[in-house]
């Protein structure tokens, strides 16, 4: 009896010592790794892995195992199955990643049911955070850029009429709703709103853009996902000579996504966007980030906003792990740690709203300029600590 107790204590303390020495935290990471948006998934993962590499020591011997699963398409089912597998079989303690909004929406109920914290690193539809109490978002919301772009178009660009065009899925609808609210609140009028195909593959934008050209608004606000869609839309704007027709091309930053900017060609200069991050932001954290990103992935690698989503997402994951202090990570502990969390990001100071669990950050109004043959984003205006307007105004599903 006595011996048995000693043995138990010994074994128990050994196990404890081992736990204190090195714990491996499994983090499920869902992103498109094949198909049309593979490039975006790649950027997200690059950002995440770079953060892990640069900050590994801060975990004091603990390590993160990033388990990556391919969400393939913008729609829900494959991402949901991947999350299910990560939770049930891999027993991940934290879920993260996700490029497309419908992916995040389909994973949300699982995060609730399995009590796993879910850190959204890209998907921007405003009401995603209302779908589960276990979601925190570090990326952006469509309402942040859209609303500000609307106000800017009316006040600074002097547009009286505008047409909005959008890829027809939740963030697109969100983005144009935000633009309309901002633009019409500032005295403008949105005269047409055009759905332009789905998110899976970039369509030929010509019929939609030609319709806009013929209606001749002052401003043309376009939401498309970054990557292929952005390149296609911008090229069509140039090809149809819409700039010469006097139409101002504006949108959230996806439109002149840093990844595609150079391939669009110099004719896109003059486009105005609102975004939470662009590669040319001037601040010390971003300078260091740009340098580290290029050192890690080659001089042609582009430190775009998607990569920063992964980078800051992993910063949030680190914070969750550190806050648990070796104890068990639960959805409650993780979300509690993230409420009110502040962080020095390459995009400036960011924080998580303690009430909505959504990102609070600067929004930059920027113009594309031709810098001796290289296209860059030039910041015109900085609006600090922007919250998600959709939830502030309690619009639609954001009001829940």
């Amino acid at each position: 009896m006595f011996r048995f107790t000693t043995g138990t204590i010994l074994a128990g303390s050994l196990a404890l010592a081992a736990a204190a020495e090195a714990r491996e935290i499994k983090v499920g990471f869902i992103a498109p790794k094949s198909g049309g948006a593979a490039q975006l998934g790649d950027q997200l993962e690059k950002g995440a892995r770079l953060y892990i590499k640069l900050h590994a020591k801060e975990l004091g011997g603990d390590t993160i195992k990033l388990i990556v699963r391919d969400s393939k398409r913008p729609g829900g089912p494959i991402a949901k199955a991947a999350a299910q597998e990560l939770i049930a079989r891999e027993k991940v303690e934290i879920l993260g990643g996700v490029i497309f909004s419908p992916n995040a929406m389909s994973i949300a109920p699982l995060a609730t049911a399995a009590k796993v914290p879910f850190v959204v690193m890209n998907a921007g539809t405003s009401w995603i955070t209302t779908l589960s109490p276990n979601i925190a978002r570090v990326s952006f919301t469509m309402w942040q850029a859209g609303f500000i772009m609307g106000e800017h178009a009316a006040n600074a660009l002097g547009c009286k009429t505008a047409i909005s065009g959008y890829t027809n899925y939740p963030p697109g609808k969100d983005s144009v709703a935000a633009f309309k609210r901002g633009f019409e609140g500032a005295g403008g009028k949105v005269i047409d709103s055009i759905p332009m195909g789905g998110p899976r593959e970039a369509p030929d934008f010509t019929p939609f853009f030609q319709r806009v050209k013929d209606k001749n608004p002052n401003c043309f606000y376009v939401f498309v996902p970054g990557g292929n869609h952005a390149a296609g839309a911008s090229k069509t704007f140039v090809a149809l000579g819409m700039k010469q027709a006097g139409i101002k091309f504006i949108g959230p930053g996806d439109l002149t996504h840093d990844l595609q900017l150079q391939s669009i060609g110099p004719a896109i200069a003059g486009t105005t966007i609102a975004i939470h991050y662009h590669a040319d932001l001037e601040n010390p954290v971003n300078a260091a980030y740009r340098k580290a990103f290029k050192a890690e992935y080659g001089k042609d690698a582009v430190n775009d906003f998607v990569s920063v989503g992964g980078y800051d997402g992993m910063a949030a994951v680190f914070h969750i792990i550190k806050s648990a202090k070796g104890g068990k990570i639960t959805a409650d502990s993780a979300i509690k740690a993230l409420r009110g969390w502040t962080h020095d990001s390459p995009r400036g100071k960011i924080s998580i709203d303690p009430v909505t669990r959504d990102i609070v950050q600067n929004i930059y109004v920027a113009e594309v300029v031709d810098d001796n043959g290289t296209l860059r984003h030039k910041t015109l205006k900085t609006i600090e600590a922007v919250k998600d307007k959709c939830k502030e105004l309690k619009i639609g599903r954001c009001g829940k």
């Binding site: 049309g36 010509t206 319709r211």
Partner: protein
């Protein structure tokens, strides 16, 4: 009135450019289906490979765009001959299900192969200066590239009509489409004829792939799947093996697609399916097909 005229010409010009592209790619598919009763779902893969050859010749190697298109035509035509001799001949006499499974397998393999070699990212080319900008028609400015597509398409249509209606090979092809066994018993070598037609069709697909990069929003490995349905629709609506039918179907669908998206962006993409539905109810063998 002036505005209505302007919109009508816009739709005509852009719809026509798209229609030419549809025709150039679909015509090969139509003839192989009509001539051999062979269902080549991998036809879009040939177009995709043609597009990639064009991109890779233009961008890193600096070959002029138009020359790159011609090279892509001949390379893919040659590829067509190789595929025909090595692989396809084994399934010509087989049931349709075998053919469909076999060729869709080739599509999968080609998509994976292209992704592996060149990656999943979209490929774009910067067009030569001469094809950029607008051309002034007196009453309207239209993009030079669309005008170029229409002219190039027109030349190809004319050449094909001439080739089929006025040359000996054309007569043999028509005979073989109408009644293959009778043509064979008259001494027409339908096997060799088919190789020639298959090569020509593949080359045309490649040309379409190269021409379409600018219009179809960049070239991606999924191209082979993405547009397959549209090509099959053109062939079905036009009638198998009928060049005139394919041309009319391409015109009809190209212009309706553009007009649909222009006037009704919410549901415009579905117009061509509606038209297909109606045409096939009315004429199950297509506009010009023979029962």
């Amino acid at each position: 009135m002036a505005a209505a005229f302007d919109i009508a010409t816009t739709i005509l010009v852009f719809g026509l450019a798209y229609a030419m592209l549809l025709f150039i790619i679909s015509v090969g598919l139509s003839i192989t289906m009509g001539l051999m009763g062979f269902v080549n779902l991998a036809h879009g893969a040939f177009a995709m490979v043609g597009g990639y050859i064009t991109v890779k010749l233009v961008a890193p190697m600096g070959v002029p765009y138009l020359l790159a298109l011609v090279i892509a035509f001949f390379l893919v035509a040659a590829l067509g001959v190789v595929m025909d001799r090595l692989l396809y001949r084994h399934v010509y006499g087989r049931p349709e299900l075998d053919q469909v499974l076999f060729t869709i397998g080739i599509v999968f393999a080609s998509v994976a192969g292209v992704s592996f070699v060149w990656g999943p990212d979209p490929q774009n080319i910067l067009l030569p200066e001469i094809l950029l900008g607008d051309i002034d028609l007196g009453f309207k400015n239209i993009p030079i590239y669309r005008a170029f597509m229409i002219v190039a398409g027109g030349v190809i249509v004319a050449a094909l009509f001439f080739g089929l209606e006025r040359t000996k090979i054309g007569a043999q092809v028509r005979a073989a489409v109408d009644n293959r066994r009778m043509a064979e018993s008259c001494g027409i070598p339908t096997g060799r004829l088919f190789t020639i037609i298959f090569a020509l069709g593949s080359g045309m697909a490649a040309l379409g792939g190269g021409l379409g990069i600018q219009i179809l929003g960049g070239l991606k490995p999924v191209f082979a799947f993405e547009y397959l349905v549209i090509f099959l629709i053109v062939v079905a609506v036009g009638g198998l093996g009928n060049i005139r039918g394919t041309f009319v179907a391409a015109l009809l669908l190209g212009i309706i697609d553009f007009a649909g998206k222009y006037f009704l962006p919410e549901g415009g993409g579905f117009f061509i399916y509606g038209v297909t539905f109606i045409v096939l109810l009315w004429r199950p063998h297509g506009l010009f097909g023979k029962a």
